[in-house]
Amino acid sequence: MEVTLPLASAVISAAVVLTKRAERLPYLLALQALIIGAYEAYSYGHALTFPEAVTYLGAAIANSVLPPLILLKLARRVGSPPEEAPRTAVVFSFGVVALLVYLSLLPPSKVRDVALCALSTATSIAIIAYSLNPVRVIVALNMASNALHPLLAEGPPIFSTLSNLSMLLVNGVAFFLADQAWKTYGESSLAGWDRWLRK
């Protein structure tokens, strides 16, 4: 597996940590999805028949375009205030990038690839842990999913297509939930939802 992929994922996740405004996050997600989609299309190469290629590319393009669009719409609708990441999260995200650079120097093996992919999701998981902004949490979920996508490249292309489709379902549900919560509680932060319910 190309080691630049997990590195690119980790760098983009670090950029998500540094970005304060939720409206900018979907663009970063689109960038990550495009890089990973392009790599997968390249690695499947000539192995695909024409119908398979059309299905695969359709799902990959949908995965790079639709979730960011859904999340952009959500970010604009909910209109949450800028969120600053805790300093530990910033240090952690750069630590992950440094560790990935170190791991990429190890001799290639399947276990190293799994470790690289798993590590590139670490920043996304940290974002889910600290963030109170639903848009940022959903972006982090998508980024974790995209970062693990190269693992699916081992299987037939249909798996990658189906995974993209099921993530679309998850995004649709997440959009619906965040929108409903905003309408019900009148709050755009996860802490606000909790406060409303406690009242």
Binding site: A144, L151, S166, A174, Q180, A181, W193
Partner: protein, 466 residues
């Protein structure tokens, strides 16, 4: 080609598309959901008969295989789904989604859990877990209650992350065995076995968080009160397939030197879950939260039995039967509670007594009182635990463990009796006068699940079919 497998999977998928196409019409929603689940139940019964006749059915293009025991799980889960569809007619199905989307999600869940039992590929299982999560969360979010979006969002985040852990486990499985197939690999050797054991730990964490067993249960107690009673009954059908999925993912470790480690890890998690969750259930005031914690305790027993069956294949029927009985009885208890919380005022006294009796039967079967189905499954389960513990720690330790497990039975018995008095027997006065077809349908669901406890108690061979 095993047509029975293809038909069992195609029926709910096609009905799901039809439900979506039918849109918002209430007149069409109920027949489509009942017909979709009913036809799937009939086809799953045909699948069981075909398995009994031919032994193993396999369909390589779908990466699916079906043995008699798998078919029994599918029939039991589809039976719960069919009764949930009848219950759906009896109670108010309206919520945040249009009826078309809701009906489609209902049937899509049936497709996902049927396929999960049959699939024999780790990557395909990951995809099914991911799809199942999306559908289950959407069904929880359908509830009109104000806490539903917050609870469902939490549920979504936890379970989606856990699906990624399953994917990482599948990649490690492939790194150690060279394929994503779920066959046993007794001659892997040092590094391969270590990787396989690590993959199994990831599967336990990933699917553990999806099922909601201890210590990954954080979201479970909140989802029971936040969901609609219909979804609560339907979701009982997915637990057995999820456990079967976990069993299939753990099977490759059987026969390796890490088999006992994985087995003991599961047994320890299960044993810890039982007292903790029963004690927490005891402290809850909301009946649905109480049942939520009770469910976590039941998962603990199932995880304990799963651990034992990973080490000793002879114990697998006991684990499977315990899991099926637990799903059926939990569905019965939740159906009765849903009626008590929603349409109780409209029911005449005789119907209230019928629901109360169903609750009593399901509760007694769930805790293992003879001559109901729970007694037989608990007896086999306790015998398996005794054999497993006696081989490893001696007869006295095994007896102590049995005494502990038996004493734990009294806690749920106590709070289920308290619920019976509080919600059912204490509210038999001032009954409604007339009963409509909808209420008859809802009560039928409770009665059918209680009848299942009696029938399986009289013919326990049905639930132990291998």
């Amino acid at each position: 080609m095993a047509q029975e497998i293809a038909f069992t999977l195609a029926a709910p998928l096609l009905s799901s598309l039809i439900a979506l196409a039918a849109g918002r019409s209430e007149r069409l929603h109920v027949p489509i959901v009942i017909a979709g689940t009913g036809i799937t139940l009939l086809l799953s019964a045909a699948l069981l008969l075909a398995c009994v006749r031919h032994g193993v059915l396999s369909e390589s293009s779908l990466m699916a295989e079906c043995r008699v025991a798998d078919a029994v799980v599918i029939v039991a889960s589809n039976f719960i789904a069919f009764l949930a569809a009848i219950y759906n007619f009896g109670l108010n199905p309206f919520g945040r989604f249009s009826l078309g989307k809701y009906g489609s999600l209902f049937l899509l869940l049936v497709f996902c859990f049927n396929y999960m039992v049959l699939v024999r590929n780790a990557l395909a299982l990951f995809l099914l877990v991911e799809a199942l999560i999306g559908v289950s969360v959407a069904l929880v979010a359908h509830s009109p209650r104000s806490d539903a979006p917050e609870v469902a969002f939490r549920y979504l985040v936890v379970t989606t992350l856990s699906a990624f852990i399953v994917l990482a486990g599948a990649a490690l499985l492939s790194a150690s065995t060279g394929s994503y197939s779920l066959d046993q690999h007794p001659h892997l050797g040092g590094d391969g076995e270590r990787l396989l054991a690590l993959a199994c730990i990831l599967f336990i964490i990933g699917l553990g968080a999806d099922i909601g067993f201890f210590p990954f249960h954080g979201w479970v107690p909140d989802t029971f009160p936040a969901s609609t009673p219909i979804v609560n009954v339907l979701v009982c059908a997915e637990h057995a397939p999820l456990f079967v999925g976990l069993y299939m993912l753990l099977l490759p470790v059987r026969g390796t030197s890490y088999s006992d480690t994985i087995s003991l890890t599961l047994a320890t998690l299960g044993l810890a879950a039982i007292p903790i969750s029963y004690t927490l259930a005891f402290r809850q005031r909301d009946p649905f939260r109480r049942i939520g914690y009770y469910a976590i305790g039941e998962y603990g027993s199932i995880v304990l039995a799963l651990g034992i069956s990973i080490a000793d294949p002879a114990c697998t029927p006991a684990w499977r039967a315990y899991m099926l009985n637990s799903s059926l009885m939990k569905a019965g208890i939740l159906a009765c509670l849903g009626l008590a919380a929603n349409t109780w005022e409209a029911l005449p006294r005789r119907w209230r007594e019928l629901v109360s009796l169903s609750f009593i039967i399901c509760s007694l079967s769930s805790v293992g009182i003879p001559p109901l189905s729970g007694f037989h499954v608990k007896l086999r389960y306790l015998l398996s635990v005794y054999t497993f513990a006696a081989e490893r720690a001696g007869a006295w330790a095994a007896l102590l463990l049995l005494a502990f497990l038996l004493s734990m039975t009294f806690i749920p018995l106590y709070f289920l009796v308290a619920l019976l008095h509080e919600l059912f027997l204490g509210r038999l006065e001032n009954p409604g006068e007339k009963v409509s077809l909808r209420e008859i349908a809802a009560v039928t669901t409770c009665v059918a699940l209680a009848a299942a406890a009696v029938v399986l108690g009289l013919w326990p061979g049905l639930i132990f079919l291998e």
